[in-house]
Amino acid sequence: MLAGIEPGLVKRVGLSTTRVTNLLATGGGEPAAAIIIPGPGLNYRKLALPPNSFLVGGTVDFRGRVREALNQDQLEEAAHSIAAREIKKVAVVGKFSHRNAALERQARELLLKSSPQFDIVLGSAVAGRLNFRRRLTTAYYTAVTGSSWRYFAGEIQAAFKRRGIEAPLNILKADGGTMPVETSLDRPCETVFSGPAASAMGAYGLTMDQLTSVAVDIGGTTTDLALILEGEPLQASRGALIGGQYSHIKSLAVRTIPLGGDSTVRWQGGQLTIGPDREGPAACLGGTAATPTDAFNLLNGEKLGSSRRVLESLARPSGLTAEGLAQKVIKQVVDRLEEEIQDMFRSWEQEPAYKVWEVIHKRKVKPERIVGIGAAANIFIPALSQRFHCQALVHRYSAVANALGAAIARPTLSVTLHADTERGRYFLDREGLQGKVDSQLQLAQAKQIARDHLTEMAARQGFKEYAGSYEFGLEEQFNMIRGWSTVGKLFDVTVQISPGVIKEFQGVKL
């Protein structure tokens, strides 16, 4: 791709890699264990847990108060078992550890005393928002993938260096933003599902306006859908699915459908089916099976090669003509895509709401444009956009839009602060950071603290030029009343650098 470009001219490298996604899909990575400190609630003995999981007593409550001490006997027993299995990677995850990491830290200390070979990931360091199960998943898979990712990242850096490219290396994340490769070393799981994120950001880069777009990336056997709502890439309400469980990895709301340009078309029990498999390239491109690409090709003058023969032989038993079958195939694909897109909008509209204001002001948004991405984009996009009575965009860069997305995505960073003035403390959802607050803390100050941390983190990670592009998301404050008087306040504040494009990118010509 860089052929003919002077290495010194490369100012920035954006990399979208399936390395961790593949590791997780194939069950690769290093064996890891999980020490789980669940306290009261669900019975974790009855739930599907990662392999080598150990339950240890100890309770932190929602206010971050330690209510039951760490059960050191159980911890010691777990440490023995883990060491006996020759496992080195250990995730230690406690319920509400993001409100007080004391038990997790104490466990780490004790584990390292008895088993100094352990390499320990704390839940509070990698996943600091509410949801213990997602924290467990995130921490566990961070432990599993850490070393492989570290190794891979080192190789990539060396490879670029050998080619004389010294530019900073940025890794694309599932949320449509990037992080410097150095940051990724502690947070390997954030690189999962960056493929669909790249195409969504590609669509974003091709449009960059306030319209509501659907990015449709039609590949060989799958199609990725993503939503850009009024100019903002939509984030999933739940984290990325890893190992069948939700995680705390922020991710764009993308949906992958097992349906693509090369999906095999066949009759099954009198029904025309498309995919989910692929037998090879489309017939018009030298393959043997009929595909949606062939259907499109036939109806558009067979510019790509011959599709008629396979479609005719497939159509014959049903009494259809080749053209009739082709139209049926196209319709079926477009039907399916339309249905999935409608469902994505519906899911977004049906997100739970916890405030009167939110319920009253629920919006209904309609797609205003379908953006085609990938080589096969022009096949279905016009027909699909007609269904929604909206614009279609198939740009001349559509075929490389996901590479564009990876290259132009800017860093993202989100910091959520939880402050409890009665306890006099605040907690961040990153790196297990916390600090003191006084009892008179006001919302404006809570926001300031969160913003200062965001600025500091951005600078530390080498992208302070984006620190100014922050916006506040969640802003909540609650008075704590005991009896009839106020004893403190609770604040939850999120400040973030949202997905967007790097400063150098000015958009593309249509």
């Binding site: 009261p40 409550d61 739970p352 405030k355 009167v356 609650f478 008075n479």
Partner: protein, 454 residues
């Protein structure tokens, strides 16, 4: 579960609506903070990620959904704010999901609560303006043709609003167990309160001695509530699920635990639970709500406990158990002989049964004077008229007249009701500010200014 019974794999529906931007007043128990720690606990536990739970967004209840149950004075809009309509709407959302077969059961974990709101609503009493369960039940009956429903009120306070709404309805079984009215708001709910003359025995009240524990409440469930439900054969069982029986509740004096609540819901197996009261925001609610959801979803709750729970401190006393046994022995025969009781009441009252009451609205400081007339009918639960005058704290007065034709009303009663309404709307010099018509047969609700304004 019995052998051979199929496991219902469908999820439990959940509407969680904590109304984080709504309070009666900043320091009132019914304030923004009430379900905050419940949110933390449910979210931290990741309950909504489980396949056993399906979360729904609440909708707004319509004006007609509220008018189907209440005579709101002066109108629905002034009694039901958006928050109230969303809480009631959350219950409707669960009702729809249940009837569509999407869920096996459901919990409307919503605020503000409703079980003290009576048929005539002049204002807020016991933190309630409109009553979520009857709004849901009447919607279910109207839309889905449900006839028989059991509402079990497990709040520590007597569900006097729900009792009032179903007082004359023999097809809705209402059982409330609560802390003895001599020691707690609203001061009612005694064993002699059994329903109107034509619905005697389908309202049952169990005053619990202060201090009653899990054991006592589960005893009552096994010995009275469950057998009565079984005999009544309702199509749906509703738990009016207050959580102020908890040992830590600041407004009451009972000793129920989170696991006790879970056990209660497992045994009761309600089709729908709707949150009512419960004001121990940190010590009880996060755990009790977990317990209800876990029990309804069939999740193992053996690891659920309040961090400060010391079970050994809460053993049931012999005295309380004896008291409960007496109540069970008093009420079971009443329920079983309810037809004879109704027959006797018919003889006693003849054609019209009158009831005069004073109702006090603690939150809003309203004093209501009510006269109810039930026109006894051999074919239906009878036509009901209400004359109600309310005096507000500020001196404002409202006087209304309401005609209620019951859902099961016969055509004769219905015509008589329509006639009464028409006559009185047109009557010059009549004393009422507003007249109301509730025609449940036609699902038609009207309100017009009375002669006094004309």
């Amino acid at each position: 579960m019995k052998k051979g019974e199929a496991v219902d794999k469908r999820p439990t529906g959940l509407v969680f609506f904590p109304a984080f931007d709504w309070a009666i007043s900043p320091t009132h128990p019914e304030r923004e903070e009430r379900l905050l720690y419940t949110r933390d606990q449910l979210f931290e536990e990741g309950l909504m990620d489980l396949p056993q739970i399906r979360e729904y967004q609440p909708r707004l209840a319509g004006v007609e959904d509220i008018a189907r149950v209440h005579f709101c004075v002066p109108d629905v809009e002034s009694q039901a704010t958006e928050a109230h309509r969303i809480a009631a709407g959350g219950a409707l959302t669960i009702a729809d999901a249940l009837m569509n077969g999407e869920i096996k059961n459901g919990f409307a974990l919503v605020r503000p609560p409703g079980h003290h709101a009576m048929r005539v609503a002049h204002g807020n009493r016991g933190f309630c303006n409109i009553n979520n369960e009857p709004i849901m039940v009447e919607y279910l009956r109207q839309k889905y043709g449900i006839k028989r429903v059991a509402i079990i009120d497990t709040d520590v306070h007597h569900g006097d609003g729900t009792q009032d709404i179903y007082w004359h309805d023999p097809d809705v079984l209402f059982i409330s167990f609560h802390q003895d009215g001599r020691t707690l708001y609203p001061g009612s709910g005694f064993t002699h309160e059994l329903g109107g003359p034509l619905a005697l025995g389908t309202t049952l009240n169990v005053p619990l001695p202060p201090g009653t524990t899990d054991e006592g409440i589960l005893y009552l469930l096994d010995q009275l509530v469950l057998p009565v439900i079984k005999e009544f054969k309702p199509e749906l069982v509703i738990n009016s699920a207050g959580q102020d029986n908890h040992y830590s509740d600041p407004l009451a004096n009972m000793n129920f635990s989170a696991r006790g609540y879970a056990r209660l819901n497992q045994k009761l197996a309600p089709d729908i639970a709707v949150l009512e009261g419960g004001y121990s925001v940190e010590t009880a609610l996060p755990y009790v709500n977990m317990g209800i959801i876990m029990a309804m979803a069939g999740l193992d709750y053996s690891n659920l406990y309040e961090p400060d729970y010391r079970g050994e401190e809460f053993t049931e006393s012999r005295g309380r158990l004896r008291r409960l046994r007496e109540v069970v022995e008093e009420l079971r025969p009443i329920f079983l002989n309810r037809e004879a009781l109704v027959a006797r009441a018919r003889e006693k009252y003849g054609s019209v049964a009158r009831r005069e009451r004073r109702i006090y609205y603690d939150t809003d400081g309203i004093d209501e004077q009510q006269e109810e007339r039930l026109y006894l009918c051999p074919d239906c639960p009878g036509l009901l008229t209400i004359d109600s005058r309310a005096r507000h704290r500020g001196g404002q007065k409202n006087h209304i007249y309401a005609v209620s034709i019951p859902l099961q009303g016969c055509e004769r009663c219905r015509q008589r009701g329509l006639e009464l309404y028409r006559e009185n709307v047109g009557r010059a010099g009549a004393p009422w500010d507003f007249l109301y018509l509730q025609d449940r047969v036609a699902d038609n609700y009207r309100r017009e200014p009375g002669g006094r304004l004309a």
